[in-house]
Structure formats: structure tokens, C-alpha cells
């Protein structure tokens, strides 16, 4: 991986857009670092993914840290949950749970336990020995000392948690509802919804699985997993570009800038005093998960021109079809009839780049998944689409509604997921997830 930059030739974009994209990429890279707590190593770490700088010592160190499982700890405490803004990590698991706590007190205990475990796992450390008092307190999967490996734990609640079981009905967030089915969806109820959701992301699979086992064993009785999907994000290939999805296209190029507090405040974070929102939601963010099968073998039988017109970007370079530069902004005013980027192209429908649609932008965080084979031996792989926003209807659903019947639907099939609210962050050592909700 470290030798890639020198071996794989960079595409040769025109100087203008390239320069723009470079600057934008740097901005989002810095954002990753700031979210990660301003740790210098982490800041350098995420920078190369969303930008096209010359391969740097920091990027090489990041690669080495990923390979060695030594990504620094992402600070757990803060106003917002730490796993929302950073670019996708190498490995993720999204697990939905049914709350089985008997009452509000047990639910509170559950949230406190999840908080305690997440706090420990994110920081790392040595698990306590149990002597002759029982089996070991830790699975040992990460060795005798738990390494942080960049682990983030994102905890969210679904609308069903606000039914009559825990007396939370009056506190339901304004925009939280069961995930709706869109035309072309083929939802499996067994892989939809959930009272609670956890997303665990880190540099390596063992780190994620260790965290999942630790949290599961410590929350037995309080919640029971009902569906799960594991995802990964690929290295950017060529280096300095943007990671690709399993259709072979770069994914998540057009995102609001996580470096811009103003953009995050207007698009991602639920603001204090937001209309209709109970006060406990401030600092949270609506979290949409969509599990999308990709019929990759069918896709691979489609010629590249057709693929590119469905997406609206070049497969090799990630450039929009009307410009040179990954981050170049397509100018649809010059192409009103879709001669260059068809009106039905994915990127054009998803983000028409108009003032009217600017407020529907989402913070997109997609991972790839691979689940082996389907019943007839075709490859079961696709996308764990996740996104964060202030208002699911005005943002994700608006985007998804524009995408209904796009040409791409023949090659994909959404089959699961759910709508959740990622809770506000845990402020400090005395705070816990959902304290204001459960108080």
C-alpha cells in the first residue's frame, strides 16, 4: 500500500480544478483531525483520503498506523458523538438492537453501561484480572492491552423506543419515525428498524469485533441484537483520491464540509431550540442506515459509458462528466437538457446543485459490504449507506425521492436499514448517553 503513490500514475486533470479540489480536500482533512480531538497524528491521518496532496510523511504514517492497528485514540467525550464527522474508517459494524430492559431504570442502567464500555474501549487500557472469581473480563482478541485503534462508538435510538414501554412517548424526537419504503425498495422486516443502534468503526476488523463482543457481554439482558451488517471502506486508489464503492466508482465525493461549523450546524447537528424538537436532542443528529445490495455481476456486464452516464462521473478518475477534477462542481446551468450529464444521472438527481436543494444535503458516510453469496450463488455485496442530518424528511427523504426510478435502480436493491437518532455526545466522565432523555 505504501508504494502505491509512486507506482500508480495520477490522472492528469487541468490545473484549475485540481487546485480547487486540493484546497477543499485539505479542508475536510483538517476537519477529520479536529473532530478526532485535535490530536496531531489523527489530523494528519485523515487528510489524505479526501484530498489529492502529494503523498506525505503523514499519510505514510497513517497507512502504517492502520496496518499496525495503532491509530490513536479518538477522544470519546464531547458535545457531539465522535464517530459522525470523520471520514469512514477502514472497518465498521452496524448493529440494531431490541431493547429488553424491563423498565426505565434498567434502560438507564443499559445506557450507562454502553457509555462506560465505549469510554473504555475508545481510550484503551488493560482490562482488570478476575483471579479465581470468574472467566477473564476481556476476550483477549486485542491481546493483553486493549488498543484504541481509532475506535468510535456511535449510539442511536429508533422511534420504537418511544412506545409505551419506557414512558418516553412525550420525548420522541420531532422527525423520528420508522423507515419508510421507497419505490424500488425490497425491505426485509427482519433487517429493518430497531429500538437502538450501534455503529462501531475502527482501523481493523479485530478492533471492531472486540468492541462488539465487549459491549454485548456487558449489556446482556438489556438489549438483544436483531440485525447486523459489517462494512469496510477501501483505500483510496489511486492514492490521494477517494475510496471506491463496489461498483468501482468513487463514493462520497460531494459532501458538505465537515470543517465548516456553520454547514454542520445548518445540515447535521440538531440545534438547541429547533422547532418541535425536545431539548434533549440538541447536539444529536438523525442517522439513516440503508442496506443496499448491488448486483455487481450484472453491473460488470454493462459497458463503461453506460455506467458513467448512470452515475454522472468518470469511473477511472471520479471527475464529473462535465469537468476535470474530482471536486469540480458540475455546472448544470450549462447543460439544461442533460447532454453531458443526463438529467437522470445519480449525482445530478442526488445533488442538483441549486439553491433550492442546498438545504437537503446530507453528510454521507457509505461503507461497502460483502456477505458471501446469495441463495443461487451470486455475489452478495453492496453498500452500507449511512448519512447524518438534521431532518430526515427534508434531507435524506428529499434526496431519495429525487432518486426514485433513476436508471441505477436496475443494479441495486435496498433491503434493510432504519431511521435513528444518534444521541448527543457524552460531555465528560460524569455524563452518559441519553442522560437528558432518560432524566
Amino acid at each position: 500500500m505504501g508504494s502505491e503513490p509512486s507506482e500508480l500514475p495520477e490522472p492528469a486533470p487541468s490545473p484549475g480544478p485540481r487546485r480547487r479540489s486540493f484546497l477543499r480536500g485539505m479542508a475536510s482533512g483538517v476537519a477529520g483531525g479536529v473532530v478526532a480531538g485535535g490530536v496531531a497524528g489523527a489530523a494528519g491521518g485523515y487528510a489524505y483520503r479526501g484530498s489529492r496532496p502529494a503523498p506525505s510523511a503523514a499519510a505514510a504514517a497513517e497507512d502504517e498506523a492502520v496496518v499496525q492497528g495503532r491509530l490513536p485514540a479518538v477522544p470519546f467525550h464531547g458535545r457531539y458523538q465522535a464517530g459522525i464527522l470523520p471520514p469512514p474508517q477502514r472497518v465498521t459494524a452496524v448493529v440494531s438492537f431490541t431493547a429488553t430492559a424491563a423498565d426505565r431504570a434498567e434502560l438507564t442502567e443499559l445506557f450507562q453501561t454502553v457509555t462506560d464500555r465505549a469510554r473504555f474501549l475508545a481510550a484503551g487500557g488493560t482490562p482488570p484480572p478476575t483471579g479465581i472469581g470468574g472467566p477473564p473480563s476481556d476476550s483477549g482478541v486485542l491481546g493483553p492491552t486493549v488498543v484504541p485503534d481509532g475506535l468510535t462508538v456511535t449510539f442511536g435510538v429508533g422511534s420504537t423506543l418511544f412506545d409505551d414501554r419506557y414512558g418516553l412517548g412525550a420525548r420522541v424526537p420531532a422527525h423520528l419515525a420508522p423507515m419508510r419504503s421507497f419505490p424500488n425498495d425490497d425491505l426485509d422486516p427482519a433487517q429493518c428498524g430497531g429500538d437502538l443502534v450501534l455503529q462501531l468503526s475502527a482501523g481493523n476488523t479485530d478492533t471492531v469485533l472486540h468492541a462488539l463482543r465487549d459491549i454485548a457481554k456487558n449489556t446482556r439482558g438489556g438489549m438483544q441484537a436483531n440485525w447486523r451488517i459489517d462494512g469496510f471502506s477501501s483505500p483510496a486508489r489511486p492514492a490521494g483520491t477517494v475510496p471506491r464503492n463496489l461498483l468501482g466508482f468513487m463514493d462520497g465525493i460531494s459532501n458538505p464540509s465537515t470543517a465548516s461549523a456553520a454547514q454542520m450546524d445548518s445540515l447535521v447537528w440538531i440545534q438547541p431550540g429547533a422547532a418541535g424538537e425536545p431539548s434533549w436532542t440538541a447536539g444529536g443528529s438523525y442517522f439513516v442506515v440503508r442496506l443496499i445490495r448491488m448486483f455487481v455481476e450484472f453491473w460488470d456486464r454493462v459497458d463503461v459509458f453506460e455506467q458513467e452516464t448512470m452515475i454522472g462521473r468518470r469511473r477511472d478518475t471520479g471527475f464529473p462528466l462535465d469537468a476535470d477534477g474530482i471536486y469540480a462542481t458540475p455546472d448544470y446551468t450549462l447543460d439544461p437538457t442533460g447532454d453531458v450529464i443526463p438529467l437522470t444521472a445519480h449525482i445530478r438527481l442526488a445533488n442538483p446543485r441549486t439553491p433550492q436543494t442546498a438545504a437537503s444535503r446530507i453528510l454521507r458516510r457509505a461503507y461497502n459490504y460483502d456477505r458471501g453469496l446469495d441463495q443461487v450463488g451470486d455475489l452478495d455485496m453492496g453498500l452500507v449507506f449511512t448519512c447524518f442530518q438534521q431532518d430526515i424528511r427534508q434531507q435524506f427523504e428529499a434526496v431519495q425521492t429525487r432518486l426514485v426510478n433513476e436508471p441505477l435502480v436496475d443494479y441495486i436493491s435496498p433491503f434493510g436499514g432504519g431511521y435513528f437518532l444518534a444521541l448527543p455526545g457524552v460531555a465528560d466522565a460524569n455524563d452518559y448517553f441519553g442522560r437528558a432523555l432518560l432524566a
Partner: protein, 382 residues
């Protein structure tokens, strides 16, 4: 969740401690042991996190414990350290007295020098070891409880065989459940009865449902609930009855390994989780929730025997009972007024999740008992 939360707190504390240590380095002590010297002179710098590297310089294997020499309570244990090998033991040392106890085969137990840590620091608590003498009477009681249970079982399988022979398959179905639950309540899971268990309660997994090698309760269940005739099932029921009687006859000569008393505390329900709550062992009657209930009975028998040993040693014991009560109450809701049981396949997802979670919680709470109730050699005897 009460105990696990304590655990979580301890973990966080430990994390904080190690995080504060300069460069993450931990004080390390090399402790040399052999059949005639247990630790030599050693010291503790003070309370806090310590890792001991135990080096066995004898020519045989042994067990090394770190104990409170006042009462023999154990802080940490290396159950088996081979000759000329090293093993590590980590401990959060608090104020108190510490000594190594060396238990080498063919040698008398040897207690090394005592090291005292002053002050009022809290560390990993020591647990008073359970001895062989503690467990032997329990094993005897358990043996006679099981023998009485097998006698009842033999009467039931006798009636069951007669019902099948007489062609009353409706009665046979009722009696099948009575007898099977009796068997399952004996804590029969997990090979307690060795090869008898394969004959009496074996699954079709390895041989297939059509194999003549498949015998026992599940074979009979499969036949009764799949329309097989009384004639076809008569030899099946008769073999079951004779296998139960053979087990009963052999029972007085069977020795229950002492370690099993504690091990089974969680193993019975581990099996219920794997085979009953998943519906794996439903061969047609839809009664795996009833089987789970019988398994709880078997677990409770062990707990009642072990209770006096556990109460002073296991702070999580009340949570064990709470979790079993909850599981039992949830299962009872699936026991219909007409006596039938809801099959797991027919459970609404939320109910299934609640039962699964309660059983998961119960095995999690039960698990430490295996370690705590394991009989150990100690300075207090055997």
C-alpha cells in the same frame, strides 16, 4: 446487569490507571518458583497495577497462587505452569498481605515469604478458595438427587413405552413430554450422562432422521409428531425405556467429577441457548421452551447445593437468581392454559428477543460460578 456494571467500572478504573502510568510501562517483578522455594525474597513497591513474571525453575509442573497468607484467600492463580516456563499474572494490588503459594505435584504445598502493603488502598479482592472437602458432600447429595430423579424417569419411560405398545399415541405424546422434561431437569445437558445421553437424548444431526442408529427421546418425538405408527415406534420407545433403566442401574457406580458441579451451573443453560431457544432440538412437539424451563430447574438444583459456598464468595449471586426468575417468568407466559407450549418458531420477534436476552443474561451471571466453585488445593487443606 448489576455485576457487569461493576465489572465495567473496574475496567474503566484500570484503564485510567494504566493510562496514567508513564509510557504505559507497568512495574514488573520476576518471581522464581520451584519445588523447594516459593518466590524467594520479593517485594511490592506499593499499591497499584503489578505484573508478576512467574518463572518455574523446577523439573515438574505446578500451580502458583498469590494468596492472603492469613486465610488462604486467592488474589490470582496460574493453574498450570510447566517446568522451565514463565507465565505472567497481573493484579491491582491493594493494602494487605501477599504471599505466593506453590503447589507442585509430589511435593507439599509451600508458602513463600509474606509481603505487606500498608495503607488503605483498594485492590483486586481475594476470594477464599473452595476445597475438595467443601465439594465432596455436595457431589454426594447431587448423586442421590439424580438417582431419585432417574428412578422417577424410569417409571415414566415405562408408562410411555406401554402407551406406544398399546397404540395410544395421544397418551404417548403427553407422556413423552412429561418424561423428557424429567430427563432435562436432571441437568442432563452437556454430556452429564456420557454415552447414555447419546442414546437417551441424542440429536439426529450426525446420522439423519431416517437412521436406525438414532434412538431416544428426540427420535420418539420425531416419530410421534410425524405420523409414524405405533408399530413402528414400539421398538423406539422400548429401547428408550431400557436405556434409561441401564443408566439407572449404572448410576451408583458413576462418579461425578467434582469440578462438574460448578461447571454445570452455566453449561446447562448454554445448551438451552444453543439448542432449545433456537428451535434446533424441536423435532415436532414444539416444546423447546418447556425444555428450557426444565433446564432452569436443573440449574437451580445445582445452585441450591452450591449456595452456601457461593454466598460469601460471589457478589453477583443475587443477580443470578434475578436473571433466572426473569427468564422463568418470560417462559411461563408461553405456557398456555391448556398445558401446551408456544413453539419458538411461533414467538413474536419482541418476545423471542426478550427470552433470548434473559437467557443470555442468566448464563453471563452464572459463568463465574465455574471458576469460584472449582475445588482447589489451598493452605486450608483439600
Amino acid at each position: 446487569m448489576r455485576t457487569t456494571r461493576l465489572l465495567a467500572g473496574a475496567a474503566a478504573l484500570a484503564a485510567a490507571m494504566t493510562a496514567c502510568g508513564a509510557g504505559g510501562g507497568q512495574p514488573s517483578n520476576v518471581i522464581t518458583v520451584s519445588s523447594n522455594a516459593c518466590g524467594g525474597s520479593w517485594h511490592l513497591a506499593g499499591p497499584g497495577w503489578h505484573t508478576f513474571e512467574i518463572s518455574n525453575q523446577s523439573t515438574g509442573g505446578g500451580e502458583i497462587d498469590l494468596i492472603d497468607p492469613a486465610d488462604g484467600a486467592v488474589y490470582g492463580e496460574i493453574e498450570n505452569i510447566g517446568p522451565a516456563t514463565t507465565a505472567s499474572m497481573s493484579l491491582d494490588v491493594g493494602s494487605g498481605k501477599y504471599a505466593f503459594l506453590c503447589l507442585f505435584e509430589d511435593f507439599n504445598p509451600l508458602t513463600g515469604p509474606t509481603v505487606t502493603v500498608g495503607g488503605h488502598a483498594k485492590g483486586t479482592p481475594a476470594i477464599l478458595p473452595v476445597t475438595y472437602n467443601d465439594v465432596i458432600p455436595l457431589a454426594k447429595k447431587y448423586q442421590s438427587y439424580t438417582e431419585a430423579g432417574l428412578q422417577l424417569l424410569a417409571r415414566e419411560t415405562g408408562t410411555l413405552a406401554a402407551d406406544v405398545r398399546g397404540g395410544d399415541l395421544a397418551a404417548a405424546k403427553r407422556y413423552w413430554l412429561t418424561a423428557h422434561l424429567q430427563y432435562e431437569s436432571l441437568g442432563a445437558a452437556y454430556d452429564a450422562f456420557g454415552t447414555f445421553d447419546d442414546e437417551i437424548d441424542g440429536r439426529a444431526d450426525a446420522v439423519g432422521v431416517d437412521s436406525p442408529k438414532w434412538t431416544g427421546f428426540y427420535r420418539l418425538e420425531y416419530g410421534l409428531w410425524h405420523g409414524q405408527s405405533a408399530k413402528e415406534l414400539t421398538p423406539v420407545a422400548s429401547t428408550l425405556n431400557s436405556d434409561v433403566r441401564a443408566l439407572l442401574a449404572s448410576w451408583p457406580a458413576q462418579q461425578i467429577p467434582l469440578i462438574d458441579i460448578g461447571l454445570r451451573a452455566h453449561e446447562i443453560l448454554e445448551n438451552a441457548l444453543e439448542f432449545q431457544l433456537t428451535g434446533h432440538d424441536d423435532y415436532g412437539s414444539g416444546t423447546t421452551l418447556a425444555t428450557t424451563m426444565a433446564n432452569i430447574t436443573g440449574t437451580r438444583v445445582l445452585l441450591s447445593l452450591l449456595h452456601p459456598l457461593l454466598a460469601p464468595r460471589y457478589p453477583g449471586l443475587p443477580a443470578v437468581y434475578t436473571s433466572l426468575d426473569r427468564l422463568q417468568a418470560l417462559l411461563q407466559q408461553e405456557h398456555l392454559p391448556n398445558g401446551a407450549w408456544v413453539p419458538v418458531a411461533g414467538l413474536p420477534a419482541a418476545v423471542h428477543a426478550a427470552i433470548d436476552a434473559a437467557c443470555d443474561q442468566a448464563v453471563q451471571e452464572l459463568a463465574p460460578i465455574a471458576s469460584i466453585a472449582e475445588p482447589r488445593n489451598s493452605i486450608n487443606g483439600f
